[in-house]
Amino acid sequence: MVAAGNLMGGRSDAAAPAAIELRGISKAFGPVQANRDINLHVPKGSIHGIIGENGAGKSTLMSILYGFYKPDAGEILVNGRPITIADSQTAIRAGIGMVFQHFKLVQNFTVLENIILGVEDGALLRPSLSKARGVLKRLAAEYQLNVDPDETVENLSVGHQQRVEILKALYRQADILILDEPTGVLTPAEADHLFRILEGLKAEGKTIILITHKLREIMEITDNVSVMRRGEMVASVRTAETSPEQLAELMVGRKVLLNVQKAPARPQAPVLEVRDLAMVDAEGVERLRSISFDIRAGEILGLAGVSGNGQTQLLEILGGYPPKGARISGTVRMNGAPLPLSGRGCDAGQRRRDGIGHIPEDRQVEGLIMDFAAWENVAFGWHDAPEFNKGWVMDNDAIRRDAEAKMERFDVRPRDANLAARNFSGGNQQKIVVAREIERNPDLLLIGQPTRGVDIGAIEFIHKQIVALRDAGKAILLVSVELDEILSLSDRVAVMFDGRIMGERLPGQTTTGELGLLMAGVTDSDGVPPGPARVTDLPEGRA
């Protein structure tokens, strides 16, 4: 085991006063010990990363800090003073601010209205609003936190909405800022801008706790990093003295291959040919604009892009269930035969019979029925298959046997086919979906966000399975917002922005920087995503 333990605890106590210190925090939910004897020392004016797999207890720990949960045992010290955080109001008064992964903004309020929400000075709004306007101006100048105070939140980009959340915390005089997975929804450029903001805040003496699962970000921006595993704090180290490999090993508890090992692709005939595919949704918004691409047998086409740029709609159309009321044009051919894009023939069941497997973007809403047992989920989508049925009645024994075999081969834990899907961890849920779709041996596999919310150990496994399917001569469309994943798995990378394919690159011959520009529709270094008007046709546009 690598340098574990709480090295910094004793060493830096005297040097820098701790903004936050946790001593022996424990919290159990029923039989589950979410946090066990956690010690944490966050020096004032530093950026402190907390990493860990899903379910390692990061969110519970931060919820305790923000007063959502009461710890069963242990002590919290803020700026050296012991404190009981009974609710989020206490946390705010103690100077703790939180930026959640899912923003807590009122969509149809303006930025200013959102900022004063809950801290209005009186019954009349006007004085609070004008005060907030002044403060906002100052903060914007100080930290590059520019947002139009009178814009309605729903009209802001995700990056800007996040700034509003940060401004909300600062307006409440937060000294300690906790950010939960802040870059999950941002383009690389937006993420860089966020990091510059955080650096600025740090320079002003603010303390920042950054919860993330992206090792690259930890290495890039944090001063110290703490690693959680199964409810325990397994290590706290100086970022400069560690490496991504070491951190990954600490998180998982064993050696992990961060990069996928794969042989060069040997692509053959095209399996899927998409030509001029366009879609206008029920509200009249153009979601896809004349998309064309091929996927050949034995290759992985990676589709990069910030979520919400048409990838979901593309997957749904190819998967046979276009959004209601959408108007679709263009052609899609599968093994040479045209696929119906609307009407009766456009049916998810028929797509499966045509040899298209689909690992959907959201396994909890689409890919699995969370209340169904694992074995029932293994038949999900394939419930018409002859081997699962005896006439009208389903052959539950056959399905169970099949499920047990798949769970064995894909190492789903616990190996209990009767357990409801909701009781598996994210990674094991995803393994059930992946097993179901890959074991059907589809000619084309559509994959949306294969490793979202999946722990590192399972990511490694899932990536291997995807590459194995490719090597078996199948075509794969991989949609992911994780650029690292796209780059390490794909044989070709296409970038989507605003319903278009902005360009195509070979993963060995591009950089995250270049792809990031494409993902933002060619953006300036400021990180402000331009409106559609700025989008020009790239010379690299798909042939």
């Binding site: 029923g30 039989p31 998967g319 046979g320 269930y321 049916d347 998810a348 069941g349 028929q350 797509r351 499966r352 689909h358 959907p360 959201d362 809403v365 689409e366 890919g367 699995l368 029925i369 969370m370 209340d371 169904f372 029932e376 038949a379 999900f380 989508g381 419930h383 018409d384 049925n389 009208w392 009645v393 389903m394 539950n396 009781n423």
Partner: protein, 367 residues
């Protein structure tokens, strides 16, 4: 991991709820100056103490099994069908039309024909709300409750203006032909040389209800259609991903639901009154909601809950007959049972779950 063992979930929780409801009922009875103990013994004696009492209890239970199953099937598709009342009323019309206008020489022939009529009419009455929900998103709770009123008014019109025999003052149809009368359980018992339940309305439909429980269980948990219904009920986006057509399954689930509610008419219209009368359903459609809730949307639970409500109905009637407790109070008691077993379920369930968790943790610690 389940929070508590299945028996605690299915049996213990409703039982505690029931005891709580009875406790409060006892307080209410005390408050009006009557003896709760006497009330309880009167109810038990009147509903379960004789074959006569059982005859009525089982008759009511038969109605509630059908309407409870109707609510359950829709519930598994995430549809709240509270139109059982209207669908059962329409089922009665179906039964009446079949028996009045088809010359059927024997009840053995009349029964299947009447069942088809009842199920078809009940299903048809559920079809319109179903299609409105599936295609246009009109909320099924609103439409089915509206259809209850429409059914009542339509039936009123049909009885008064079309089916009422010439010269009759009673808004009811003519008697069905004698040949179509269903054998009551007392007649069957007499045939076997037993004296059981004389002058009670329970008839062969009770066996149909039990059969329906088994068939509905098989439908929901054993057939592909049931799988699709449950999948749609749990997650519509999931169902769409899996190639399940939500419109089709919504409509089919509601047709089955309405058909089951309609089948109730075999019991009350064909089996008991042997003609179609006004308000033949008598609220059984609504009781079905409570029965399904209390039965945790499982046929076996529904069977037990239907028996309980049958007991409350019959016992309540006896209470009004033999004590000075007013009939309205029986409705209060029934409402308390519904409140505790249905609406306040979590009040009992959550502390119980904590108890079981604590017990498990102690066991784990001891090991």
């Amino acid at each position: 991991m389940d929070k508590m063992p299945k028996w605690a979930d299915v049996i213990l929780t409703p039982l505690i709820s029931l005891i709580l409801a009875m406790g409060i009922s006892a307080l209410v009875i005390l408050a009006i100056g009557e003896s709760p103990w006497e009330a309880l013994t009167t109810m038990v004696e009147g509903a379960l103490g004789s074959s006569y009492g059982w005859g009525f209890t089982l008759y009511y239970a038969t109605n509630f099994i059908f309407t409870g199953l109707a609510v359950m099937v829709a519930y598994h598709a995430a549809l709240f069908n509270i139109g059982g009342e209207g669908q059962a009323a329409m089922g009665g019309l179906g039964v009446a039309l079949v028996l009045l206008y088809l010359p059927l020489p024997h009840w053995g022939l009349a029964l299947p024909a009447a069942m088809i009529g009842a199920a078809l009419f009940g299903a048809a009455w559920a079809f319109i709300p179903a299609i409105l929900q599936a295609k246009r998103g009109s909320h099924i709770v609103i439409t089915t409750i509206m259809f209850n009123f429409i059914a009542a008014a339509a039936l009123n019109y049909v009885l008064v203006n079309l089916l009422r025999p010439v010269g009759s003052m009673d808004p009811a149809s003519a008697r069905f032909p004698d040949a179509t009368n269903l054998p009551s359980l007392s007649e069957i018992a007499a045939g076997l040389g037993m004296d059981w339940g004389r002058n009670t309305p329970v008839n062969v439909t009770f066996f149909l209800a039990v059969l329906a429980c088994v068939l509905v269980w098989a439908l929901i948990w054993r057939t592909r259609l049931g799988y699709q219904i449950r999948a749609l009920g749990k997650s519509e986006p999931g169902a769409v991903y899996a190639g399940i057509n939500p419109v089709r399954i919504t409509v089919i689930a509601m047709l089955i639901s309405g058909g089951l509610a309609g089948l109730m008419a075999i019991n009350n219209v064909m089996g008991e009154s042997e003609r179609l009368v006004l308000n033949a359903v008598e609220g059984a459609g609504f009781i079905g909601i409570a029965v399904a809730l209390m039965g945790r949307n499982h046929p076996f639970g529904i069977f037990l809950a239907a028996l309980l409500f049958g007991f409350l109905y019959q016992g309540g009637g006896e209470l009004a007959l033999w004590t000075s407790i007013p009939r309205e109070l029986i409705i209060v008691i029934q409402a308390l049972v519904i409140l505790f077993t249905g609406a306040l379920d979590n009040m009992v369930r959550m502390p119980l779950e904590r108890v079981f968790l604590a017990a498990r943790r102690n066991k784990g610690a001891a090991r």
